[in-house]
Symmetry: C2
Subunit: 363 residues, 2 copies
Amino acid sequence: MTDAQSGSLPSTPLSSRAGATRDARHRRESRIMLAHGGGGQLTDELIGQFVLPRLGNSALNDLLDSGIVQDAAGTRTALTIDSYVVQPLVFPGGDIGRLAVSGTVNDLAVCGAEPVAMALSLILAEGLDKATLEQVLESIRQTAKEAQVNIVTGDTKVVGRGQADGMYITTAGVGRMLTVRRLHFDQIRPGDAIILSGPIADHGLAVMLAREMPEVHSALRSDVAPLNRMISRLLRRVPQVVFMRDPTRGGLASVAADLAARSGYRITIEEDAIPVQPQTLHAAEMLGLDVLEVANEGKVVIVVRPEGIEPTLSVLREDPLGRQASVIGRVEDARDGLCELKTAIGGRRIVQKPYGEQLPRIC
Amino acid sequence: MTDAQSGSLPSTPLSSRAGATRDARHRRESRIMLAHGGGGQLTDELIGQFVLPRLGNSALNDLLDSGIVQDAAGTRTALTIDSYVVQPLVFPGGDIGRLAVSGTVNDLAVCGAEPVAMALSLILAEGLDKATLEQVLESIRQTAKEAQVNIVTGDTKVVGRGQADGMYITTAGVGRMLTVRRLHFDQIRPGDAIILSGPIADHGLAVMLAREMPEVHSALRSDVAPLNRMISRLLRRVPQVVFMRDPTRGGLASVAADLAARSGYRITIEEDAIPVQPQTLHAAEMLGLDVLEVANEGKVVIVVRPEGIEPTLSVLREDPLGRQASVIGRVEDARDGLCELKTAIGGRRIVQKPYGEQLPRIC
């Protein structure tokens, strides 16, 4: 944590975590809830109960940020898709267009693929101001240029007034694998370090603050950015990287809990080592949210062998998007699959994947 | 036209075609209208004025059903995306899930690509019945199996009650080019034949009838189906195929007008040769729609050199999805870029791309 720009994390437990009774009631529900879209345990349940039993295959079952397919000649191609339903469409530090391009290139990048081409599908609401559409398309243009990727195909649908809140965007991306190494949870080993590329929670809190408290003036801005060029340099220069994931919905907590659960090892995270900006902490306090569970859109969590730590920090810190990169934790030689947070005040707590939705419509 | 299953086309001009005054007013509008999503002239305007000036590149500017990218080694990959917002979600002959899978594999197939993998993104509305979600996912499973393609990655978002009408689906697909031949408008030559794989207008009219006149009992069912296996056999066996397109939004009229405008040649279509089922004509009459302008979701229009006509008809007719394939027109040696329809009663009229939206939310 860089003292000048950071503060300590709140140590209170999550007020939004539901009790066992409420969970049981939720599970009995026969209808989709907003919480199913939170990227937490309920999203996992939806995917596990409804999607995988029907559509499961080796690529989909991995539940990585991209699906990877290999052709007869051995060429591996990555494919990813994400829909964006953020409100408001334009927020401090970005808009739905920048979000859609960044999200897709980042999902390819963390799987070790370089974006080759993107596809863009717009669902527009009748009555949307064309000036807003122009602004979003201009932002898509700029972000695609920044990421050095072309949009090669698209689709436009229009739905009735009041539906789709102005617009929803879905982007898909196809990527060429940069490395023959397999970046996967099953490559994680005791002794590996957990590196985070910069301060957390800026995106989700910037959007929530703009939506819930538009009267508040804050220096907080979303971190939304395409990370593919930084990640591509990292993969070319540091062969010891074994896994990456971008901590979007569900935040760092969700990624850290997943790393532990899916590698089967204990992960220890040092709260003091996690960079957080003071304005971000302030916003989290006002909104009653845990920064660990808030979405980022321009950050990456990297698991790396010990000998790759310094080269990784060096590559990340050369880039403006990774200037505050830090080692935040390590993989322990214990096979309980839990993630433990050592808090700033010396306590310990288990980091769980958030249950439902604490932040609706932030991406 | 197979007499037993077909009838004559209505010869009255389109009542929905707007007059010059209304057009001018529309163009001045600063807001998105439902008609912008119709796949007709207004959709083209939106893409031409807003999207291409910002995001244009050689692949996107082609405005084909898939974007085709070539890597350094010369390997060509096709990428496509489409959002589906159909209402009702389940309609006679299919549902939004079958539509989403078929639409994406068909967009790859008509560009000469074999689907390698698909991506699926769901936008669910709070309150959606889980049983409906299950039904749609089951339909996705069956259709993907029929098309022999795997869904390798996905995303789920949830939006508030009343938004997204239950659910929207976006699918993307990546394909491997089946042929080194370039299927493109610029390959079209005088003397080429226009072949249609079967009767038109079933999809759009089945959906409209279900939505607008649910009390009417009709044998009409959507034609929604994945065509990739039939098209792949065609490409392997008939090297004289030069262009293909699936007549979805805007119908056969839109594809025929595009063939003429973008090849630069006159296209003549014989109304008598276009297969239409009697129940489809009946529904078109009740709803006041022109079958030429109604979307199909399981048909393909093929442009082929004269020596490829018989082999094409033979391959198509071997498949249940192409049993009623017919030659419906030809490319003339005249460079006016117009499409002329010779009507069943001996008249002639110019076929234009529909202006706006006669059929909202049919795909």
